[in-house]
């Protein structure tokens, strides 16, 4: 079922990061096989002779490009990267990602708020990547961001939703979409995020570094869809005692 985000109606609640993939050629297959609507790309200086090839050439035209500002160490750099991204693609979807620390790659929420404020004013659709913090999420929401993207656990760690108890209140209180970004290592992590009520998941490492990124994308897609369906139906509460599935009457006479 389609949903509205960043002013666009899309179907896939699984967003894909394109870093660390074994080849750019497989991006098209990943997108087509799992019907992905949104992918992220990064901005970098090019090498001599532009030998890296250009990732944009491998992404279908109808796919929404979310430009990430990774590499930015403060809000000024993030704003600059966003402007470069828009100049190149005309896409105004920006994932604000600001990290000063390279060991844990934890986002700088303070700089992220500053960058988001400027970028919203400049007409961008802003998707801030944050350390899960309800107050920060509320500030971002009031600024006018298109979604908030709390991390499940640090980038590339495959630890799942370690920050669960901090993400729950964000999902509950924030009205713009909540996208769980970073740290989801297995499809079951993504399913859990969706069962909790997240609106979407962004996966990169767990897909790109798997033995088969095309099939792993599908596995995550199914998990995201399953989790979303369960959330929409209503996930049942845990109980402390057993509750028989079969009737507790009409037993055979004991032997």
């Amino acid at each position: 079922m389609s949903f509205l985000i960043g002013g666009k109606e899309i179907n896939s609640r699984l967003f894909i990061g394109t870093g660390k993939l074994p080849s750019y050629e497989m991006i098209k297959s990943i997108i087509e096989y799992s019907q992905i609507d949104v992918v992220t790309v990064a901005v970098r200086r090019i090498g001599k002779g532009n030998t890296w090839g250009n990732i944009i050439d491998y992404i279908p035209k109808e796919t929404i490009l979310m430009i990430n500002t990774s590499g930015a160490r403060d809000y000024k750099e993030a704003v600059k990267i966003a402007q470069i991204g828009r100049e190149l693609t005309k896409s105004d979807w920006i994932k604000v990602e600001i990290e000063a620390d390279t060991k844990y790659l934890l986002p700088d929420n303070e700089e992220t708020i500053k960058a988001s404020e400027i970028l919203v004013k400049e007409g961008f659709k802003v998707f801030p990547y944050i350390t899960p913090d309800l107050i920060v999420a509320k500030k971002l929401e009031s600024i006018g961001v298109s979604a908030v993207m709390p991390l499940g656990s640090p980038i590339g760690t495959n630890k799942g939703i370690a920050a669960k108890e901090l993400i729950k209140p964000i999902i509950k209180e924030i009205k713009v979409p909540v996208i769980i970004d970073a740290g989801l290592g297995r499809p079951s992590h993504a399913a859990e995020a969706m069962e909790m009520g997240a609106d979407a998941c962004l996966i990169n490492t767990a897909i790109a570094t798997s033995n088969d990124p095309i099939k792993m994308t599908k596995a995550f897609k199914m998990a995201v869809d399953a989790g979303r369906s369960a959330y929409e139906i209503g996930v049942l509460q845990e109980k402390d005692y057993a509750d028989a599935s079969s009737p507790l009457t009409g037993f055979l006479r004991g032997v």
Partner: protein, 63 residues
């Protein structure tokens, strides 16, 4: 001496001429001169000055 992506260059001419000399594929790139975006239509007008800091950027895979 001017710099291109941190490399010293001894070059006289426009930004466009520099890109051509360096063999840089001009599609899907953005040129920054002293950290400001130089619009594509100005590449052939903007002459490179001695202290210029030129950056050429494009997209790569990223999460």
């Amino acid at each position: 001496m001017a710099l291109l992506n941190d490399e010293k260059i001894d070059f006289e001419g426009t930004v466009l001429e520099l890109l051509e000399k360096e063999g840089i594929n001009k599609e899907n790139i953005v040129v920054l001169v002293n950290s400001e975006i130089l619009k594509r239509e100005l590449w052939s007008e903007r002459k490179i000055k001695k202290e210029d800091y030129i950056e050429v950027v494009s997209f790569v895979g990223g999460g």
